[in-house]
């Protein structure tokens, strides 16, 4: 019990306490001297007309777009792959392994490889695009700076995330009886109809958990933007966890960074609560 409190609750409590004090570079070597600010850090974070608040808001919306695309596309890819590999056929084991590779590759190595591929002058992506004559030699796009940065980070995050969706859905599909498909085939159901009426309902519980977990991981994703942009993210790829990290560790404004973290925590708690409330009620109704 004490151990649980120490490991789990104490960092949160310290974080919340930090958000109420003026913990800047002048005080980080001696926290106890930092003046108490009350909700001062929060009012700066939520003042959307000033530079700090508006950049936080923009970062929040960027993260929402990022999360919708990453979770949505990862789920679709994972589902397609899981359904495709549901029946036994020659080479299935190989394809399963192949699909899981992005999940098995050490995260740092994988994302660094993407970073090289996204280089403007020498990267593989622009090489392929210009070989296919999709872009001219003088109009090679930048992928890691400017507005394309969001596309790049979404692609890399999907690459990391979809094998997880695939793995979970594949496990879920193991429990669906073959008999159901055979019976429905006798009734003349086509594959899409089978998927909608048998596969999807059978995966209800798995999907509930899977979508929630993917949402939380993606919204909080720090590694992908940090490694891809080397700690210096362009505005278009300014995801919220990096935004908070920069305020804390680059500008040494830990109080302000903590206040933003607490706001993020509250947002995620509320979304999770609503989500679980709705899905629980629906499963009770069913």
């Amino acid at each position: 019990m004490v151990l649980e409190l120490f490991i789990h609750v104490a960092p949160m409590v310290v974080g919340i306490w930090m958000s109420f004090i003026k913990l800047t570079q002048l005080y980080i070597a001696n926290w106890s001297a930092a003046p108490f600010l009350g909700f001062g850090n929060y009012s700066v974070a939520l003042d959307f007309n000033a530079a700090q608040g508006s950049s936080l808001l923009r970062s929040f919306f960027t993260t929402c777009i990022f999360t919708i695309f990453v979770v949505g596309i990862s789920w679709v890819l994972g589902m397609a792959a899981a359904v495709a590999l549901q029946r036994s056929f020659w080479g299935r084991g190989f394809l399963r392994t192949l699909f899981l590779i992005p999940y098995a590759v050490p995260m740092y190595a994988g994302i660094i490889a993407w970073k090289f591929m996204f280089q403007q002058q020498t990267g593989a992506i622009n090489f392929i695009l210009s070989s296919l004559h999709l872009v001219g030699p003088d109009t090679k796009p930048f992928w890691l700076i400017g507005s394309n940065a969001l596309v790049s980070v979404i692609v890399v995050a999907i690459w990391r995330m979809w094998p997880f969706a695939f793995l979970m859905l594949m496990a879920g599909l193991q429990s669906v009886s073959e008999d159901l498909y055979e019976a429905s085939a006798l009734d003349g159901a086509r594959p899409f109809r089978q998927w909608r009426s048998i596969t999807l309902p059978s995966l209800g519980q798995v999907n509930t958990v899977l979508l929630l977990v993917m949402f939380l991981w993606t919204f909080n994703d720090f590694n992908t933007p940090f490694i891809l942009f080397g700690g210096n993210q362009p505005p278009a790829g300014d995801l919220i966890s990096m935004h908070i990290y920069n305020a804390s560790f680059v500008n040494l404004s830990f109080g302000f960074g903590s206040a933003m973290s607490v706001l993020l925590l509250l947002f995620l708690l509320i979304v999770t609560g609503i989500y679980l409330f709705i899905t629980n009620r629906r499963s009770k109704d069913a």
Partner: protein, 434 residues
Amino acid sequence: MRLRNFAAVATVAVVLVATAACSSGGGTGGTAGGKTLTYWASNQGTSIANDKEVLAPVLADFKKKTGIDVKLEVVGWNNLQTRINTAVTSGVGPDVVNIGNTWAPYLSATGAFLPYDSANMTAIGGKDKFVPTALATGGEAGKTVTSVPLYGLAYGLYYNKKMFSEAGLTPPTTWEEMVSDAKKLTNASTGVYGMGLEAGSYTENVHFAFITAEQNGASLFNGTKPDFTSTGVVSGVKRYIDLMQTDKVVNPSNAQYTNGTEASADFAKGKVAMIVNQDNADALLTSNGMTSSAYGVVPIPSPTGGKNVSSGIQGINLSVFKNTKNKDAALQFVKYMTSASTQGILGKPYASIPVLKGVTPTFTDDAAIAKTFSDVYNNRSRPYPLVPLEGAFETNVGNALNGMFATIATKGTVSIADVKTAMQAAQDKTNAAG
């Protein structure tokens, strides 16, 4: 009820323990007896491996003389500041560390470094051995310094002699001449450009925000308060980014150059005719296949009517973490590193301008280049603002400029109003750090 009370008490206890642990955090790196020091060196040579080679004999000699073992880690520029910030925050770090001298004021304000008060200063050989302008960069204005100069550096404009003579040009003496020369030397269809910039490096960019502002007679700080939106500062930044935007003498791909070496490599390979660099470029240029006699250096020119400023007082300083368990050994090490003999050994590989009085420069064999940089360092350099918000100024203004170059490279435009808006945002963020 009893359980809830217990939980409440336990929570309070845990919080108290946690805060106590946070505020006391001790230094690392000391074995008993103080015979081992941990030292973070900055990347001064052509690569991190090269730095290890250069420093190994120096550290071995130190061990022979004092019996103190130095555990070396060379940290790259792209994450040195973050590593130091994290060490300052957590209280877990090395005993001795190299810092960019412009960080000295804000790191001094954190209180994490040992002040060189009279006793400590005496222990490292006294303040009189240092060049006063170099020592003045060691901390906050009017306070005891928390860092001492190790290597002195200055900016210069490197030009390719052959490309200039073939085009019938002489090295520029004004900013306008520099731009018109660069235009004549630019041929985008062959991929040759007049100038190369590390346009994605916030540390490089912020130096030019400072230099161009100083050339315009503008100041980035009003007392200790940031003042980034004055006409002089904004038009200086505009002049600098216009090298890529309207003058089109910089390849837009330079917006992705982040680690301080790519533009030099382009210069060495004849893809650009001019670069702005500190005086330690030679090792990098020769390692990329350029001979030292193929380039010349002149001061970075000012616009006509502007002030003659070509550089900040650049350099690397040496600090000791206050919570070191090996204070005496650390001070001995600082004394050794800032001694005339060690400075003489490291001056050449690191192309360092002497920070000690009466030491002959060894950073180049080329008398003209030595004269240019000595002139820049002594007569055409200005100190960076010695205020606690200097660190936040560097990251926020530097990143704002990175963003402007990124906009230009991706076919956007940055107007004077856009510069002002971005500088205002940087100023707000900098203020928040105080």
